[in-house]
């Protein structure tokens, strides 16, 4: 029997300080009560449709398909959602839950800023106080998103401790949560953290594969042969994979960030290089040294710059249900440029990792086969970074 909050009996758990245990249980109870509550689900579906713009399109990438000469390529357009990424799906679900739990103050962590922007947006919509923790390094490279969050009325707290990136923002959000446990709801943005977050965030993201499965059956009359998504903590990938997991013929591929290469010190390739550990509330794979100190990680993509991976992905990998590949900065930037020119779609640098992985697989597939790539977000936020990477000056 599967243990509660565990995947493949090993991964997951609730490794958090005593101070937050009652809050974790309270959340677990609330989520279990509402996850099958028709009224709650209807409200979630309605707000996704009326506010976020769902369902997102499943777009047939004709020029890309012809250019590559392999399988048919479809793009699941999460970049077209309100706020420009898949993050809004989860945020809207959790905000509805927080509201029912009577919470007035929302905190969140953010890497690239997409989850922070989505959270700030939903808090504006529901009139809730919002504080977003963001690593000092990320504040610097994602200035536009910082400004967006502030414009939406959120307070952005720059985190200087540790490496000043996503993991440190999570540490600080957890400290805030423990301090203000009576009033505060911690809105985690990925399929990570203590149970019930990995399961709950997945459930709010699985709408991606619910739609994609229906859409592809409608368009093609059959299931895809391969589904590809990028993986940092892994929320868009869990959402994109979930409804295809029982369809054994569908190959699931996650693309993680290899930065400057998995054999350098500069990467965030947890699946390729991580080992089993316990951190941020969960047992999973982490990049760490031989004494269990969490390693500094690097990627051009702030959204994939995390030293761990969600526990359900760890289980999918260990059971062989999904494959994970590592994509370098250079491969991701090239894929971003490729999709921009061939389809007129500028993907987020995170999503570009999925495209790069797909570019390697597509030519090996047959022309009557089908692939779906999840375009988890749009690339506007990354323009300055990409220009800098290419040595182009676009600052005024």
């Amino acid at each position: 029997m599967e243990k509660i909050g565990r995947f493949a009996d090993i991964f997951g758990g609730q490794y958090v300080p005593e101070t937050v245990m009652n809050a974790v249980h309270e959340l677990e109870e609330a989520y279990n009560r509402y996850k099958n509550d028709e009224e709650f689900l209807e409200e979630y579906r309605t707000i996704c449709r009326e506010y976020a713009g769902r369902p997102s399109l499943l777009y047939y990438a004709d020029r890309m398909t012809k250019d590559l000469g392999g399988c048919k390529v479809y793009l699941k357009r999460e970049d077209l959602n309100h706020t420009g990424a898949h993050k809004i799906n989860n945020v809207l679900g959790q905000i509805l839950l927080a509201k029912r739990m009577g919470k007035k103050r929302i905190i969140a962590e953010t890497g690239a800023g997409q989850h922070g922007v989505a959270t700030a947006t939903a808090c504006a919509l529901f009139g809730l106080e919002c504080e977003v923790y963001m690593g000092a390094e990320d504040v610097e490279r994602q200035k536009l998103n910082v400004y967006r969050m502030e414009l939406l009325g959120a307070k952005v707290v720059s985190v200087n401790s540790g490496t000043g990136t996503l993991k440190d923002a999570i540490n600080e959000a957890m400290r805030d949560w423990a301090t203000n446990i009576d009033t505060t709801y911690y809105l985690i943005g990925s399929v990570m953290g203590p149970h019930p977050y990995p399961e709950m965030v997945r459930d709010f993201q699985k709408i991606i594969s619910e739609e994609a499965r229906e859409q592809i059956l409608e368009k093609e009359g059959k299931l895809p042969d391969c589904v590809v998504a990028c993986v940092g903590g892994g929320s868009n990938a869990m959402g994109m994979f979930y409804n295809f997991i029982p369809d054994k013929s569908v190959r699931l591929v996650g693309a993680e960030a290899a930065g400057k290469g998995v054999d350098t010190e500069y990467h965030a390739a947890t699946m390729a290089k991580g080992t089993l550990g316990i951190f941020h509330g969960m047992k999973s794979y982490f990049l760490q040294n031989e004494e269990g100190q969490i390693a500094p990680v690097y990627s051009i993509s702030a959204g994939l710059d995390y030293p761990g991976v969600g526990p359900e992905h760890a289980a999918l990998r260990d059971t062989g249900r999904a494959d994970y590949v590592s994509i370098t900065d250079e491969e991701a930037v090239q894929a971003l440029e490729y999709l921009s020119r061939i389809e007129g779609i500028i993907p987020a640098i995170e999503s570009a990792h999925a495209i790069a992985a797909a570019l390697k697989i597509i030519p090996t597939m047959d022309k009557n086969q089908i692939m779906i790539i999840c375009i988890s977000g749009r690339g506007d936020k990354d323009m300055q970074q990409i220009a800098k990477y290419r040595g182009v000056k676009i600052d005024g």
Binding site: G13, Q14, Y15, V16, P17, E18, T19, V20, M21, N22, A23, S161, G162, K167, D168, N171, M174, R175, A178, T179, N180, I181, D182, T275, L276, G277, I278, F279, H280, G281, F286, Q288, E290, E291, G292, Q293, I294
Partner: protein
């Protein structure tokens, strides 16, 4: 579980009708030698139990003072292996009960069985793991019991409805966290201590010590009325930060002042 130094010390304190003074220092902050000297000095100056913080890259239960100490210790090359070697040296000179305060990943990655065997070998009496709640304690409890090392349980003002369950399994002493949040010196407490300690006294059949935020002889004396001992961490770590290699003399003054305050009738 067989009695170890920690249980014996609490028994002695009880028979002498004295409060326990538990002090904390981040191991390796300022080098092993400084930690070693500070530990021996604190034991001489009236500390009954001493916690050694094992530095971790991401100490989510710590406030800024111990976070920075942890960073300094890691930067100068402190390792768990090195800490065990230091403990062996300390054990040749004192029998003061010693605890390790550390994050679960450090134990897990070292190998839980190997870790507790090493604790026993070097003379550690207990561990405090702030990111491992009651529900996940099986992760280490078996090995801790096997080697006679206390796995110290924590309760906090947010533990409503959990104190009975936690106390029932607790051994050594019960670590009562004074305030929700992280470690660090506080000028005031928001907790209503009478109602926080009421269920603790009702259910806990073991010594109770209070920590988080205590930083002066006055607050130590005040807090000690609620339980059997006080725990002081950040205030001592702050002295290491401020006085560096000269910190031992300052720590001695500070610990002595707390001891004096606790022993006043």
């Amino acid at each position: 579980m067989a009695e170890n130094r920690l249980d014996k010390r609490f028994k002695e304190l009880k028979s002498e009708n004295r409060k326990a003074l538990i002090t904390f220092i981040t191991a390796g902050d300022g080098g092993y030698e400084l930690t070693e000297k500070a530990v021996l000095n604190m034991a001489e100056s009236g500390a009954d139990l001493i916690e050694l913080g094992v530095p971790f890259s991401d100490p989510i239960a710590e406030g800024p003072v111990i976070q920075k100490a942890s960073e300094r210790a890691l930067k100068n090359g402190t390792t768990l292996e090195g800490i065990f070697k230091m403990i062996e040296r300390i054990r040749q000179k004192t029998q003061v009960p010693l605890l390790l305060m550390m994050y679960l990943n450090t134990i897990f990655v070292y190998g839980t069985e190997r870790f507790f065997a090493q604790c026993k070998e070097t003379g550690i009496d207990g561990v405090i793991v702030p990111d491992m709640p009651f529900e996940e304690k099986d992760e280490i409890q078996g090995a801790a019991d096997k080697y006679g090392i206390h796995n110290i349980s924590l309760v906090t003002p947010a533990s409503e409805g959990r104190i009975q369950m936690i106390s029932a399994d607790a051994t050594g002493f019960l670590y009562c966290v004074s305030s929700n949040g992280v470690t660090g010196m506080r000028s005031k407490f928001d907790t209503d201590f009478s109602s926080f300690f009421a269920p603790i006294h009702k259910y806990a059949k073991l010594p109770c010590a209070v920590g988080f935020g205590i930083s002066s002889p006055e607050s130590a004396k005040h807090m000690s009325q609620y339980c059997d001992g006080v725990i002081i961490g950040s205030a001592i770590v702050h002295l290491v930060e401020e006085y560096k290699e000269n910190a031992v003399a300052e720590i001695e003054k500070f610990v002595t002042s707390i001891r004096t305050a606790l022993d006043e009738v």
